[in-house]
Amino acid sequence: MKEKQHNLRLFVPIYVIVILIYITAGIIEPQFITWRNNVNLFTRITPLILVGMAQTFVVLTGGIDLSIGAIIGLTNVIAASLPFINTPLNIILWLLIPPLVGFGVGVINGFFISKKGLPPLIVTLATGAIWLGVTLFIMPIPGGTVSLSVALTITGKLFNTIPIPLLIILFFVLTGYFILRNTELGRSLYALGGNEAIAYESGIPCSRIKILVYGISGILSSFAGMFLSGWMFSADPLIGNPYVLNSIAVTVIAGTSLSGGKGGVVGIIGGAYIFYILNNILNLLGISAFYQYIAKGLVLILALIISSPNASIILKNYFKKQSFFDKEEFVK
């Protein structure tokens, strides 16, 4: 089949599901479709989308980044600990320092994975622990603050109608899509994830790209950390913890294969929506927060089952009647 068809198959189902959920949820709980609820939703899923993109980039190359949560925490805390509060200098620092830190941390991950050839799972697990420790060292309990204008801007509206978070989401997703589709870097990620040996033989600078992709993951995570600092108006060293699993969930739901070489960011908005909508509905229905853990897990399991090639084989075999052997008699 043609490439366009191939890509469409990837994310159309997700958006169909999003629409279905919307309609169903709207019928059950009309409050769900109010503009207010949706603006709220945009804000809440922005960090999800950012980490989803971070993880997608890494997973496309066949790797994984478990330090995303720690990087969010680190940059979150740094963003809320900058001096010269409520002056333009603070805002400049807020814009520059966390991304640099995120990139630097990511590159360190990339170094160990690429140059030393160590398995990404363990490396990012270990560095995650290290950065979490550093974060706790900088700010043991929630605190800190950001400039008022930052907080207002992040949660504000452009021209008093378009929510800034929505703009942020669109900006990053479109940029991400563009990079993946039309730049050497983007296409190299697919090649790396598809078959590293072939990518190498084609002259693609594999080690450099691997380091870079973890750096990108770090920077996107830092944006999530910065966003959270503006939204919460303070920082929490442990704020990033749930985002590790969340980023993987969004990546998988969006159609990217964990083994690499397949997928993309187009489905991420839909994926983050589905993931978050569940929590939103549960809240509106008054169900205890505890059930969210289970709901989260079940959604991810469903997504994994659907995307697993084995599942369809097992289901097919279960439903197919093995009539062939019953009819034919065995010839001696």
């Binding site: 490439e3 296409r187 598809g194 033989e201 052997f325 065995f330 010839v331």
Partner: protein, 509 residues
Amino acid sequence: MNAAILDKKTVLKMEGITKYFPGTLAVDNVNFMCNKGEVHGLVGENGAGKSTLMKILGGIYLPDKGKIIINNREKRFHNYAEARKFGIGIVYQELSLLPDLSVAENIFMGIWAKKGRIIDWNEIIKKSKEVLAEIDIKLDPEEIVGPLPVALKQMVEIAKVLTQNPEIIIFDEPTASLSSQEVSRLFNIIKKLKENNKAIIFISHRLKEVLNIADVITVMKDGKVVITEKKDYFTEDKLILSMVGREFSQIFPNKATSIDNKIAFSFHGFSEKYRSEVKLSVFRGEVLGIGGLRGQGQIELLQSIFGLGKETKVKVMLSDRLYTIKNPFQAIKSGITLIPEDRNTEGVFLILSVLQNIAASTVDERKNFGLIDRRREKEEVTSITNKLSIKIISLNQIANSLSGGNLQKLVLGKWLLTNPLVMVMLEPTKGVDIGTKQQIYKLIRELAEKGVAVIIHTSEMIELIGMCDRVLVMNKGFITADLKGKEITEEKIMKASISYVNILSEDKE
């Protein structure tokens, strides 16, 4: 070396190339030359050194001794990317395409056309269409590669190689999966490349084809060049003689003189992929071969005998008893064993010891209240190691230090310990040195004489003809010919490989 080459422009000279691997001398002081506008055929058995020689040319191995001279300049390359820069292109048997990406993207992998820093897809698609047109292929460059048939994938591979404008193009076993129509198409492309003054190296086991397309032929044996002559000098028999160096009867043990009608093993299966029914039987004392073009269902068939088939069940008959096989565990319990095609990934545990490798399929047999009986294990493994003459220093030696031939013996040893009733072998002598090959041939014949049902699938025509008492040829998932004894010839096998007659449906009255 015979200087029987006309004074065309010599583009490639390999002088004194030597390459060692642990345990064998893979390439021994080889001299090899290529001219522009000429097809140079390269033949030799498995293990003769031709793949190694080409891998050296492709930058995958560094020669221990010798020089590579291209256009009168000595070159050393450390990887394929460097080799490509100097004008070498290789079309491998195992294609180097990324199945999830489009044809165009595969062709221009790593060399994307750009407008500034942005990839210019229109340009890439346009250029892809041009390259494909050059080789007369009608293919939409936006198609995803994965689902394409092998023949078309190969065309994409060739297009990919051509975009680099190589001066020397190597074709490694290109026709193994192609029908004669597709082979003709390939040969037309090669002829066109010849006209464009490219130097072509054509490696194949199909001697008739080599005689057809090549201008000059080199025969390799045991790592050395035996002879290099113009095509006219050779006949098929002369080629075979040069390749094996002695009479057929001296490499292969004698075939069975008379086969009684007792059936040792029967199999009845249904292929999901080809929607076809397959039945086969092996008589006591015979070695059965499965032939045909690559990818026609032979491997699926043999793997499903072992319980690896995608269809859930398979019925076999062994020693007058009926068994249903759903997975390898059940297969082995019934006495069926399989020597896989790729032993490194499917046959051996490279990081474990020789002892652990050989004991792998029989650990359950030596249980003592759930614990391993170490004394018995050591005894049995040692005895097999001696029987197969596996060259090791200690049983605790790690497997990845062994040569290809010895590793294959590890796999054989593992199965022999299970006292198998059926032995299915996929490419039994792939990557194995000549000495070990002979031992394996002898072993196969011994097993057959003992009553073990041996089924071999090999892409080496010589092996098929030399070892098997009977050959079943498959095409499109069903059996098209059942050749016995003197009927087993390259010609008959090739003919059956493209036949659409299902002999099973002929039997049914």
